[in-house]
């Protein structure tokens, strides 16, 4: 194990800066495609944070699902935002100020809370993490209802969330289906080919 502590800190700062920076970039970019790109970078950096925190499976999931999901967002952004009028979807300066004020207050509050609790500020110290820290097998077993460390199994939530996903998929497909117009057989939505 060659990842020294300061290296971990360095990488943490790297990923944290990337993710926070690009999140703010998402916030301040008017172009939707740029937003999506920045978002992907930001989320990728968050995945890096996950890896750093030892949650490699969650990190991989983050990469796979969020990046995939954002990809689709990107596609939709391209599809649904015509180039000529996205410029006009501008937010007024007053709203920006208000947003920044509220957001800043919230951020300050959250940051203060994060560093307020002593238990959260005490580092792990010299206690080294477990040698074989693979979480994948344990997560897999937990999802199939087996917890080796004595916690609760997650079989039922897993099944429920599977059903949830299925229902959502069907529902989304139904919502987004091409509606046929009364006169012709062609779907109304031809944006895909524009």
């Amino acid at each position: 194990m060659f990842a020294a502590i300061d290296w971990q800190a360095a990488f943490f700062w790297l990923f944290a800066l990337i993710s926070c920076g690009f999140a703010l970039a998402v916030l301040f970019t008017p172009n939707i495609v740029h937003m999506a790109s920045y978002l992907i970078v930001s989320l990728g950096a968050v995945a890096g944070l996950f890896f750093l925190a030892g949650a490699e499976f969650v990190g991989a999931m983050q990469l796979m699902l969020y990046v995939g999901g954002t990809l689709v967002l990107l596609v939709f952004g391209v599809m649904l935002t015509s180039r000529s009028n996205f410029i006009r979807m501008k937010t007024g300066g007053g709203e920006w100020i208000l947003t920044l004020f509220v957001g800043g207050a919230l951020l300050l509050l959250l940051l203060r809370t994060a560093f307020l609790v002593d238990g959260w500020r005490i580092p792990l110290g010299q206690a080294s993490p477990p040698a074989d820290a693979s979480t994948t097998t344990r997560i897999g077993l937990a999802l199939s209802g087996v917890r080796l460390d004595g916690g609760n199994g997650y079989l039922l939530p897993f099944v429920i969330i599977s059903m949830h996903l299925l229902v959502v998929l069907i529902g989304a497909a139904y919502l987004a289906r091409a509606k046929r117009s009364a006169d012709g057989g062609q779907p109304v939505d031809r944006n895909l080919m524009r």
């Binding site: 495609v33 990046v67 820290a133 097998t137």
Partner: protein, 416 residues
């Protein structure tokens, strides 16, 4: 490697790690970059042969083997054009995204037992996740070009890739299921032994799943007959219409890199990875044991041979892709989607259920017919669970020592 730098050369740890990382990156880049160049040359030659031509013959001697470096040189010297209506930043970034996405997975791809840049427990997952980012670059390129052709190509690409990821991942889950791990090294090692132990021959369903995987792999890297994103007969050149020079080259490097990656992943998952059809080094006893960590020359040789083995298998896969490209006509977009959603997805699902049933019923595969099977697949998953349990207990023990009473009580409960 990092240990080597750290302990043998007495470098600072950070420098050792950096050096090790650089070495790994260099190796992979050179390997894949060279590979890409070779593949481009090979593609031309194979295409020529299939079309009853000779292909490149002039540059660099008889076989035209300097054709690819020459092309590279030409591309390097070209002007870096950005169209006026393009989104300049994204237009510039897009090729790198693609390139990065196709090369990064090699970090987690083992070339032999332990020969991996970064050993990840979720190797399969990582490879697939990063590989799926490649399409991101394509879409960015298509969008940023500010051209209709490019946008069309990008849209087609996204639709196709997103769709084909479903059957592809379903097929990938099958070896994962059989082996009980996402660790590529473990998956490869479980296929040691005779050729019959390769997962592709495990049962009829894995055999079918292999072919589906390969088909979907071809589609997910946008190779013919699924290369609708480029579709030069319709879209000029698809998403990279507006690109030229080095950036265009990056796209091609990315494409061939992904082809190679998909083929290598296919080898590791289905075709025994770095293990040859005959377990020569196992029989010789040269191979490293399961828990063996000390360096041995014989073990090194065995791994080297395994690395060559895997690369050969990858090249074989790429060759098949090239062959297919110049043999089959391009599909229409609706045919592409039909192939995916109406054939590949159901078949993959059937394979998944079939493999599951095969395992549950305890049916025998070809490997069971061979009396001498050094390290079989059967019962591996249970073994892994036991191993994980043991690891967990160990971890629990350490945690008990470190942490308070609450965790200790929990540990006792597990022990009881």
């Amino acid at each position: 490697m990092a240990e080597f730098f750290d302990t043998s050369l007495h470098l600072p740890t950070w420098l050792a790690c950096l050096l090790a990382a650089l070495v790994h990156c260099g190796l992979i880049l050179s390997l894949v970059g060279t590979g890409a160049a070779v593949f481009i040359w090979m593609e031309r030659k194979v295409a020529g042969r299939i079309q009853d031509r000779l292909g490149p013959t002039r540059t660099g001697g008889r076989f035209g083997w300097l054709q690819s470096p020459a092309d590279g040189l030409k591309l390097l010297t070209k002007e870096d054009l950005v169209p006026g209506s393009a989104d300049a930043m994204l237009f510039r970034v897009a090729p790198y995204v693609s390139f990065t996405a196709s090369f990064t997975p090699f970090l987690a791809l083992p070339f032999a037992d332990g020969w991996v840049a970064q050993h990840l427990h979720t190797g399969v997952f990582f490879v697939l996740a990063v590989l799926s980012l490649e399409v991101f670059g394509v879409i960015l390129a298509g969008y940023a070009s500010g051209s209709k052709w490019s946008l069309f190509g990008a849209m087609r690409e996204s639709a196709q890739v997103v769709s084909y990821e479903v059957p592809l991942k379903l097929c990938v889950v099958i070896p994962v299921l059989l082996c009980g791990t996402l660790d590529l090294i473990a998956i490869g090692n479980m296929q040691a032994g005779w050729m019959s132990n390769w997962l592709v021959f495990h049962d009829p369903f894995t055999f079918l799943a292999f072919w589906i995987y390969f088909t979907c792999g071809v589609a997910s890297v946008n190779r013919a007959p699924f290369d609708l994103a480029e579709a030069e007969s319709e879209l000029v050149a698809g998403f990279h219409t507006e690109y030229s020079g080095l950036r265009w080259g990056f796209f091609f490097m990315a494409e061939y890199g992904s082809m190679f990656l998909v083929s290598c992943l296919c080898s590791v998952l289905f075709l025994g990875g770095w293990h040859g059809p005959i377990p020569l080094f196992d029989l010789l006893g040269w191979s490293y044991g399961q828990e063996e960590t000390v360096f041995r020359l014989t073990g090194y040789l065995a791994n080297l041979a395994g690395c060559v083995n895997l690369i050969l298998k990858g090249v074989l896969g790429v060759t098949v892709m090239i062959w297919v490209r110049w043999t089959l006509p391009r599909l229409r977009i609706d045919q592409v989607m039909t192939t995916c959603l109406k054939y590949c997805v159901p078949l993959a699902a059937i394979c998944f259920v079939g493999v599951l049933s095969w395992q549950l019923l305890g049916l025998r595969g070809p490997n069971d017919l061979i009396p001498v099977a050094p390290r079989g697949v059967a019962g591996v998953r249970e073994g892994w669970v036991r191993k994980a349990e043991a690891a967990e207990r160990q971890a629990q023990g350490e945690r008990t020592a470190a942490a308070g009473r609450r965790v200790a009580a929990r540990s006792e409960k597990v022990g009881g």
